[in-house]
Amino acid sequence: MRRNVQVLLLVLTGAGLLHAALLTDVCLRFVKEGLRPALVASGALLVLLGLVAAARDGFPTARRDRADRRSSAPGAHGHGRAPGVAWLLFFPALSLLFFTPPALGAYTAAREAPPPATEAARAFPPLPGGSPLPMTLSEFRLRAGQDRARSLEGRTVRLLGFVTPAGDGGWYLSRLVVSCCAADSRAVKIRVYGAPAPPADTWVTVTGRLRPGPVPAAEAALDAERVRVAPEPADPYRDAAPPAGD
C-alpha cells in the first residue's frame, strides 16, 4: 500500500470514528456509550497521524525523497509500505461514513431461543404508583417470571421495544442487550397477545397488562391494550423505560 493511500486510510478511519462518536450517535449501534470518549480520542489521533503522514510523506502524491527511493524496490519491507491486508481497514472506515449498517434487530432477536427455566421465585422491591407504569423489558420479564408477590398483576404497564415476529403469526416485543459490543447481544422478548403484528423491526410502545400465568414462568406475556409506533431510541441496546406520557 503506497504511502499516499495510507494517509487516505488513516484520515478516513479517523473521520469515520469522529463522525460516529462525536458528531452523531451512530457508534451506539455498535458499542456502548461508555466507549465514546475512547472512540473520539482514537479518531482524533488517527486524523492527526494521517495529517502528519501527509505533511512528512507528501499527499496526494508521495514525496520522492531519499527515504522513498530506498524503499521503492520490490521485496523491500521498508518503512514506506504497509501490507496488503491493511486494505481491509477501508471496509469499517467507509461503513462508518456511508451506508452504515443498522443496529441489530428482529433478525438477531428471532434466532435466539427463549432462556432456560428461570431460577426460583424471590422477593422484589415494591413497584411505584402510576398507571400506565413505564418499565423496562428486563424488569418486566424478571418480575413476571420470578416475583413471589405477583406485584405486576392488575397493573397497566408501558413498554418500549421493537417487533420480532414469532414463527406462528404472533409477535414479541423485544430488545437486544449487550455487554461489550454488538457481537454478544442477548435478546429480551415479551410475547404480546391481543394486537396484530406490526412490521418487523418497528419500534413500538405497548400499553397492557401481564397475561396471567404461573410463577415461575418460562415466557413472560402481555395482553396489549394499545400499540403505538415510537421513534427509535438513540441507544438501541440499553434497555430503558419509555418516556412518560403518550
Partner: protein, 364 residues
Amino acid sequence: MESVSADDLAEPPPPRAQDGPPAARPAGRLPRGRFPALRDGAGGAGASAGTGPRTGLLAGCAAAAVLLVAGSPWAAHPAVQAWRTVTVAVTVQALPFLLLGTALSGAINAFVPERWFTRALPRRPVLAVPVAGAAGMVLPGCECASVPVAGSLIRRGVAPAAALTFLLSAPAVNPVVLTATAVAFPGSPEMVAARLLASLMAAVVMGWLWLRLGREEWIRLPARRGHRPGHGRWEEFRLGFQHDFLHAGGFLVVGAAAAATVNVAVPRSVLEAFAGSPWLSVLFLAALAVVLAVCSEADAFVAASLTGFSPTARLVFMVVGPMVDLKLIALQTGTFGRAFAVRFSAATAVVAVVAGVVTGWWLL
C-alpha cells in the same frame, strides 16, 4: 542497536518508480544476532510499485465496487446487514485498544533502550517467565493491545518465552478485567480469584512450554528497520506506530469478520444442547469463547449470563477467551506468522482448558 547495512547508504540512480534490480538488496534487514532465521514478513514481497495512476485507478474501482455492493438490494438482506453490523462493532470496539497497543509497541521500539529490559527481567528465561506473567497486571486493555507489544518486546531482546507469557497474561489479569469479573459475579470473590489463578497458571505454563519445545524459526517477525540515520526518535516512533497499526488493523478486520460469520451462521439455540453434560459443557464453552471474540473486559458479563452452565465451565470460558479467539489468531498470524499462530493457539487452548478445569475443581 541494529546496524545499517551498506546497501542502504549506496544510492542507486533513481529509477522512475519502476522495479529496481531486485537482486541488489536483501529482502529485509536482519537485526544482528537475535534471529538468524528471520525471514521477511507478510506483504514485504508484494507486487512492484506500479505507476501512480494505475494504483489509484485500481483503488478507486475497488472502493466503488464496495460502495455499490453496500448500497445494493442484496446488501439489504437482514443476515448480511447483521453480519456487517457485527463486523463493524467488533472492529470499532477493538480500535482504541489496538491504537494503544501499537502506540506502546512503537514507543518501546523507538524510545526504550534494550538494556532496560535485560535489567528489568531476570537473566534466566525460566525465571523471567513468571515475572512477565505477573507484569501482565500492568497493561489494561483487551488482547488487541498485547500482541503488538509482545512483538516489540521480542524485537527489543526480551526472551520470546517471557514476551509470550506477557502476551497471554496481560489481557487476562489486568485490573480492569478483574474488576469487571467482580462486578459480574457479585458475592463470588472465589470466581475472581479462580480467574486470576487459572490465567496466570496457563500463561506461565505456556511460557515454560515454549522454552522447552518452542523453536525460533516459528516466529516470523517482519524485518524491522532499526534506528535509521536521518530519522529522529519521534519520526521513528511515528513510522513504527503507523505501520504496526495498519498491519494489525487489517488482521483485526479479518478476525472480526470471522466472528461475525459465526455469529450470524450459528443460532444461539445450539447452546441449550450442551448445558447438561459436565465435560461437554466445558469444551463447548471453550469453543464458544474462541469464536465469540469478546473483549476480555466484558467476557465476565457474558459468562455471567450463561446461567445454565456450571461455574467451572464459565471459568474456562473466561480463561480461554482472552488467550485464544478468532481476533487473536488473526492478529498473531499477522504479527508472528501462520506457523506460529496455529501451534500457539492450539497449545494455549488446551493449556487454558486444563488450567481452568483444575482451578475450578479446586476452588469452585
